[in-house]
């Protein structure tokens, strides 16, 4: 427990190890596999436009209908390249087939005709069918959503930075607290984006939608929330510190003091999120999963990144990073503290 700060480069290394695979799938994997650069995230219709249908076939048991059969019916009605995912759902005590189909957006003027034609064709092929859900997002709307999503993340980050600088105005170097908190936040964004890229690559059901963005922004605020608690204790302990106590010791001491709280809060939120994950229904499952991962990352980054970065800054350690060519993280962590 006394070496939390002394081992800071180990913590940074761990973060890096967690971030890099995600970044590979986010930035390089599409380039490696298809030869074309693309972001390794699968956008939902919220951000790329398109239509999403959820259909239930009351007369068919799960497995009786293949993805291709459904896609063929859609193609015959002018919806080429429909992506079909079959699953099952309980209806009146028995399992029936359920399909989620993603297609191009519906026509802007012939909405009724198009949906009626598809439903009639499905009915002719598979018997009774109910359309439980239909969402169609036009291309303009999805572009606007994407723009404002980026805008939202940037604005939230800036306002939090300003607030933190103001809240810590009485501590020495208030801007440092803000920037270190933001760096920890960026760590969490990278972790979550990386995980999302890995999911996008390996899980057909995963999509980056408006809810994902909500989860991301909430994670940011929780990450800052955790960081503030640690920083607040550092600020307090700095004011009351013994003359002999080093900055490193104060930070270490503050982290240890706030650990029970960090873990307990983590646990309570973890419980509520797990309850949502298990019982909250399929619609929000991805959202909750991303929140859970982000939450763990947020707690880690507040303790093992944000607070540690304050120490790095205090000693201006970056001046030594490049000076001793070939030095590795291990060596640096052993560097005497002030």
């Amino acid at each position: 427990m006394e070496k939390l700060v002394a081992r800071r480069y180990w913590w940074f290394l761990f973060s890096l190890v967690m971030i890099l695979p995600g970044m590979y799938f986010m930035l390089l994997h599409p380039l490696v596999t298809t030869g074309k650069f693309a972001f390794g995230l699968r956008p939902s219709i919220d951000f790329s436009g398109g239509a999403l249908w959820e259909l239930r076939f009351a007369d068919k048991a799960p497995g009786e209908i293949s993805d291709e059969a459904v896609a063929a019916v859609f193609a015959a009605q002018g919806f080429d390249n429909a992506q079909v995912r079959m699953s099952q759902v309980e209806l009146d005590g028995r399992q029936v087939a359920d399909a989620i189909v993603r297609t191009r957006p519906l026509s802007e003027t012939g909405l009724r005709e198009e949906t009626a034609a598809v439903e009639a064709a499905l009915q002719a092929e598979f018997g009774a069918v109910t359309r439980e859900r239909l969402e169609s997002v036009g291309p303009t709307v999805s572009q606007e959503s994407t723009r404002s999503a980026i805008f939202a993340v940037v604005v939230a980050t800036l306002i939090i930075l300003i607030y933190l600088t103001w809240a810590f105005r009485k501590a020495p170097h208030p801007v440092r607290y803000g920037i270190c908190a933001i760096l920890a936040m960026i760590h969490d964004v990278l972790i979550v984006l990386g995980i999302a890229a890995i999911f996008s690559t390996f899980n057909q059901r995963f999509e980056v939608d408006a809810l994902f963005l909500t989860a991301l922004l909430t994670i940011l605020s929780f990450s800052v929330h955790d960081t503030i608690v640690v920083f607040d204790r550092i600020r307090e302990n700095l004011i009351n510190r013994h003359p002999a106590e080093t900055f490193d010791a104060v930070v270490n001491h503050s982290i240890v003091q706030t650990l029970p709280r960090s873990i307990n809060t983590q646990l309570t939120t973890f419980f509520t999120l797990t309850a949502l994950l298990l019982f909250g229904g399929e619609t929000i499952q991805n959202f909750v999963l991303i929140m859970l991962i982000g939450l763990v990352s947020g707690t880690y980054s507040s303790i093992f990144n944000a607070a540690q970065l304050l120490v790095v800054w205090e000693h201006r350690e970056w001046r030594r990073w490049f000076g001793r060519g070939g030095s590795n993280a291990d060596e640096r962590s052993a560097a005497p503290a002030n």
């Binding site: 026509s107 009724r112 859900r133 909500t214 307990n264 809060t265 309570t268 229904g281």
Partner: protein, 467 residues
């Protein structure tokens, strides 16, 4: 001291009782307001559409008129709590809860209701044909088929027929259902009257073309092509239809005036009541399980203060629900997730306070001063973290005003509200309870408070044991 706690306790009791009353009031009305839960479309089923004007020169006034026309048409449909609101310069959001066959309803609503007479050059055009008229040469039905925006060669679209009347001159007050008598057969019909220039032109045209056909066009679609029997000198006429349903659709579109701009469906989200109901049940289970697990954890870990925190959590839930019902706040699936998440946040402040209290007690302070210090010292952290969450909620809320991602507004609202309410419950409520309970505390009952001085001897003040 005692007095202040008494006042707080009374305040808490009043607030809790009020919240309880709003939640359990028979008949679900409070102060004349309906306080039942409002469920969003994703939970009760229905359709939400974004309509966009295809006219690039749409003015705000035109959009406002369009909004009013659509609103009146919806009211005529007689569905429950509907929403018609402007979004940006050229868009309208329409929400219809619990409609059977929502696409059809939307189709009727967005019909422009532009009634025209055209000079068909002596031809009888068959009903249902889409035609170009001089007032509306580029109907959206022709330009945007199959959802692709390719430029269509104007020549392939067919001739432009001369409009005799302008839809804007229709006297909407004169639009009435009627019965058209042709020989022995009687068919449902709609009577109407044109005003101003259109009436004059109609009189001139009919006077000069007796015995010739003249076509009635609604939203660029031929309704019928009657033969002119006599000059229509007063600008009035009759549209004969084949069924009562057809007549009602035309009546609805004409009666509340024409839409000043043509509207297309840009985005639509519809969901059945069945799927919504499943989500509601899932949310109730998730919320209950979340609450119970958090309560158990708090009680097991913090013992007596944990019980008080759980009591505060119950009050928190009551207040939240009361506010959702009273304001009212429309609950959506992400909104409920926001609430469940805020349960975690609501106890966070208590965790901060209790952790601090333990720490101060181990340092050798007596329970009262440990208590006061616990509150005092943890306040800055509670305040700063609440503010940062509120900032995020505000940003999410503003971002959610963008139509395509409007579902996240519900989340931002319930989470933000949760932060504010939890400031009250976690700080005021728990503090009052703990202060009132402090006299119960004795050193030999320390386990009840989950604190133990012996640990303080084992570990230096710097490091409370991590669990």
């Amino acid at each position: 001291m005692r007095n202040r706690e008494l006042v707080s306790l009374i305040l808490i009791a009043v607030v809790a009782a009020l919240a309880l009353w709003i939640n359990l009031v028979p008949g679900q009305t409070f102060l004349g307001r309906d306080v039942s839960f409002r469920l969003g479309l994703d939970l009760q089923g229905g359709i939400q559409v974004l309509l966009r004007s295809t006219d690039p020169e749409t003015t705000p006034d035109e959009m406002e008129t369009a909004r009013r026309v659509i609103e009146r048409r919806i009211n005529a449909l007689g569905v429950g709590e509907t929403v018609v609101q402007l979004a940006g310069n050229d868009r309208l959001i329409v929400e219809l809860p619990g409609v059977e066959n929502p696409e059809q309803a939307i189709d009727t609503l967005r019909g422009t209701g532009r009634l025209e007479f055209i000079d068909s050059q002596g031809q009888f055009l068959s009903p249902g044909t889409v035609v170009r008229t001089s007032n509306s040469p580029n109907p959206p039905q022709l330009s945007a088929t199959e959802g692709v925006t390719e430029t269509v060669d104007p020549a392939t679209l067919g001739p432009i027929y001369q409009s005799i009347t302008d839809g804007a001159d229709l006297d909407t007050g004169s639009v009435q259902p009627t019965i058209s008598q042709t020989g022995v057969a009687s068919r449902p019909a709609v009577s109407f009257t044109f005003r101003g220039e259109s009436a004059t032109r109609l009189a001139q045209f009919t006077a000069g073309n007796i015995g010739q056909p003249m076509c009635i066009v609604l939203d660029n679609r031929i309704v019928s092509c009657p033969v002119v029997d006599a000059a229509l000198t007063d600008g009035s006429g009759v549209i004969t239809t084949n069924s009562v349903e057809d007549r009602d659709a035309i009546l609805n579109q004409l009666k509340y005036g024409a839409l000043p701009v043509p509207l297309v469906v840009e985005t639509t989200r519809s969901i059945t009541a069945t799927l919504g109901q499943e989500s509601v049940q899932a949310s109730i289970v998730a919320g209950t399980v979340g609450l119970v697990v958090v309560a158990l954890f708090m009680i097991l870990f913090y013992r007596f203060p944990g019980v008080l925190a759980t009591l505060a959590l119950v009050i928190y839930t009551l207040i939240s629900f009361a506010i959702y019902r009273f304001v009212p706040i429309t609950l959506t699936l992400p909104g409920i997730a926001g609430f469940v998440l805020s349960i975690g946040l609501a106890v966070d402040a208590n965790v901060l306070i209790f952790a601090r209290l333990r720490e101060e007690y181990r340092r050798g302070r007596d329970i009262r001063s440990a208590l006061e210090l616990g509150f005092e010292e943890s306040w800055p952290a509670i305040r700063d973290s609440s503010v940062s969450t509120l900032i995020t909620c505000a940003v999410l809320f503003v971002f959610g005003s963008n139509f395509g991602v409007s579902i996240i507004q519900g989340f931002a609202l319930t989470l933000g509200l949760g932060v504010l309410i939890s400031l009250f419950t976690a700080v005021v409520v728990t503090r009052t309870f703990l202060r009132l309970a402090a006299p119960l505390f004795r050193d030999d009952r320390a386990w009840l408070f989950g604190i133990d001085r012996r640990e303080a001897l084992a570990t230096p003040p710097a490091g409370p044991r991590v669990v």
